[in-house]
């Protein structure tokens, strides 16, 4: 079961009901998620903790529409996600969901600013000048305002992850999903990245769900969801 640190009636940004997911084939087939239900609220930072292989990341990918559930339903920003419609999943994901992964996954051929602009270009809501201005503002907010034109290879691991955070916020998504965002960083950088992520999300009223192994970071979140064997405990 979930632990609630800060209560109150809040707007639901994402809701899933009775999610089931199997992975693998034949004898190696595993029931990874066993009827998981969850609500994420705007302006709230939630953490999922649990042992390796308990289904945390799988749940995150299902919530981010990067994978398909076997059964169950998901709604994002009040919109019911149609099952098995890749085009709709892509649209909803582009408009409402931001991702931060353990490995930053920046495109190495593009500068920090260009990486942040990539989601904006796809969504096409802003003109090129506005895109640049917004990317610059986001990079400023994560403390990289003076390194906007650097390639990922010219940035440290922590800096790269902060670029990834800026990128995840580019289209002002209602939901931010982070899979071990600090798993690859030292303590100092972990704190910096976590602080950037939670501060920006709270300022912009986004629902944040972080999968982490780090108990110290989890404790800093508004809510901790403990998971074991594909279920919340």
């Amino acid at each position: 079961m979930s632990e609630i640190k800060a209560g109150g009636q809040k707007e639901v940004a994402l809701e899933c009901r009775e999610l089931h997911k199997h992975l693998g084939e034949g004898e190696t087939r595993v029931h990874v998620l066993r009827g998981v239900s969850l609500k994420l609220y705007r302006g709230e930072v939630s953490a999922i903790v649990g042992p390796s292989g308990c289904g945390k990341s799988t749940l995150l990918y299902l919530l981010g529409l990067l994978d398909l559930q076997d059964s169950g339903s998901i709604s994002i920003q009040g919109e019911e996600v149609p099952p098995k419609n890749d085009g709709e999943h892509t649209r909803i994901r582009g408009e409402n969901v931001g991702f931060v992964f353990q490995f930053h996954f920046l495109l190495p051929e593009f500068s920090a600013m260009e990486n942040v602009i990539l989601p904006m270009r796809k969504l096409g809501r802003l003109n090129p000048k506005e895109m640049k201005s917004r990317a610059h503002a986001l990079l400023n907010e994560v403390g990289l305002g003076d390194k906007t034109h650097r390639l990922p290879s010219q940035l440290s691991g922590g800096e790269q992850q902060r670029v990834a955070i800026a990128r995840s916020l580019a289209n002002t998504p209602g939901v931010l999903l982070a899979d071990e965002p600090t798993g690859n960083l030292d303590v100092k950088n972990s704190l910096m990245v976590f602080e950037s992520l939670t501060r920006l999300a709270k300022e912009k009223g986004q629902a944040v769900l972080i999968v982490t192994h780090n108990p110290d970071l989890a404790k800093k979140c508004d809510r901790i969801l403990r998971m074991q064997d594909g279920q919340f405990t």
Binding site: L62, D67, F103, F105, L118, N171, D179
Partner: protein, 417 residues
């Protein structure tokens, strides 16, 4: 610029070396395609020009026999019997054209008609002071024949004016003149049927076609009538037309209207034209293999990029890029290489063709030339570009499809196939 093109360019630049190899292949493939087609087309064009300049676009010959009319062989002493010839359609022909003026009047109504020249043809024997030789006499009307042939331009020694002003003058092929060891101004004896006459060589011509240059002799129509004892009619009418490509259609019309067998140049030289076509197709296939090899190189490079970029593909998908967007990124890479390759290839093709046209390559037999003959047309460029488009698009299809099919969750989880 669309985001997919922007990403495609960056991905492409990251694999500069591999893509440069594919690009080079396409450039040279397209270039060689254009230059080989230009060469073959050049020789074909020269051949056509040569046959049009010697035998004309259409030749009207024997009269088609009316099947309802019975013609008996002549029994009178001073008249000849007409021989019947049967063609593959079982039509019967009466040799020669009895009323050439009527035929010319009828065909001059054709929109494509340019000029016509009646010709009497016959076998002769030539006797120079030193040697004898056999040949073919062509009795012509000078102005009419110049209008349907390139005879005036083919004259090497002497002049058409000398011939015009000399009733007993002849124009002889240069190979025949060499064999008989005679030149302009010399006299020779020509024998035909049962008489002989002395003629003066007014000019010597060269068509480049060996068979013509060593057998053909032109003389005035009236002189030929006298020599061959053909007071009426002609052997054939040589016709020139404005649009040579309409010769087949016009020949059919002429045949229907005049009831005389008409042979367009395409039919007369069918075997040569088929040979040229075969050579062109063969060269196109051979040169296309260069583009195919480049396409294979591009296929493997794009596949490597897809395998190399699975995480980037997954993150792009997570940002809202659709399957089609991802496929398009890889298709665009192919298109960019294709555009650069075909533009550069067309330039290289033009330069090679231009350079080749200055290469010395003396040749005679079915035509005469001193240099490589090229005839570059826009169609050669279009063909080369179409070949490159087909091959590159096939090479890009599978990698781009694979990229579009990647499931981002599987990639990030590390279980993507």
């Amino acid at each position: 610029m669309s985001p997919t093109i922007r990403i495609a360019i960056r991905f492409l630049l990251a694999k500069k070396r591999s893509m440069l190899m594919s690009l080079t292949g396409i450039v040279f493939g397209v270039g060689f395609f254009i230059s080989t087609q230009a060469q073959l087309s050049g020789y074909q064009e020269l051949f056509i020009e040569t046959i049009l300049g010697t035998d004309g676009a259409i030749r009207i010959e024997d009269r088609i026999q009316d099947p309802n009319v019975f013609v008996a062989a002549s029994t009178k002493k001073n008249t000849s019997t007409n021989f019947f010839i049967t063609d593959k359609n079982n039509r019967r022909f009466v040799e020669g054209i009895e009323h050439p003026d009527s035929v010319i009047e009828a065909i001059s109504e054709l929109e494509n008609f340019e000029a016509a020249s009646p010709v009497i043809k016959g076998s002769i024997q030539l006797q120079s002071p030193l040697r004898k030789d056999n040949g073919q006499i062509y009795g012509i009307m000078v102005d009419e024949h110049i209008a349907v042939s390139a005879l005036e331009d083919q004259i090497q020694l002497g002049s058409i004016e000398d011939f015009r002003g000399s009733p007993m003058g002849i124009i002889m092929g240069h190979k025949m003149a060499a064999r008989l060891d005679v030149t302009v101004g010399d006299s020779i004896i020509i024998r035909a049927v049962d008489q002989q006459q002395r003629y003066r060589i007014a000019a010597i011509f060269e068509t480049g076609v060996s068979d013509i240059d060593k057998t053909r002799v032109f003389m005035h129509l009236s002189a030929a009538r006298s020599l061959l004892k053909k007071p009426n009619g002609v052997s054939f009418i040589q016709v020139s037309i404005y649009d040579r490509d309409r010769a087949i259609v016009d020949a059919e019309v002429i045949e229907r209207v005049t009831k005389h067998f008409s042979a367009p140049w395409q039919e007369r030289e069918k075997s040569w034209m088929q040979l040229f076509k075969t050579l062109q197709v063969s060269a196109a296939i051979t040169v296309s293999t260069i583009i195919i090899i480049s396409g294979l190189g591009m296929f493997s490079t794009l596949f490597m990029i897809v395998m190399d970029k699975t995480r980037e593909i997954a993150i792009l998908r997570s940002m809202g890029y659709t399957r089609n967007d991802i496929s398009n990124i890889f298709l665009w890479q192919g298109v960019i290489v294709l555009i650069c390759g075909t533009i550069l290839g067309c330039g290289i093709g033009y330069l090679i063709t231009f350079a080749i046209s200055y290469l010395p390559m003396p040749l005679s037999g079915i035509f005469a030339t001193e240099y490589f003959v090229v005839n570059s047309t826009a169609w050669h460029y279009v063909q080369a570009v179409i070949a490159a488009i087909i091959i590159v698009m096939i090479a890009c299809f599978a990698p781009s499809r694979k990229a579009g099919k990647l499931v981002p969750g599987d990639v990030i989880r590390g279980t993507a196939a």
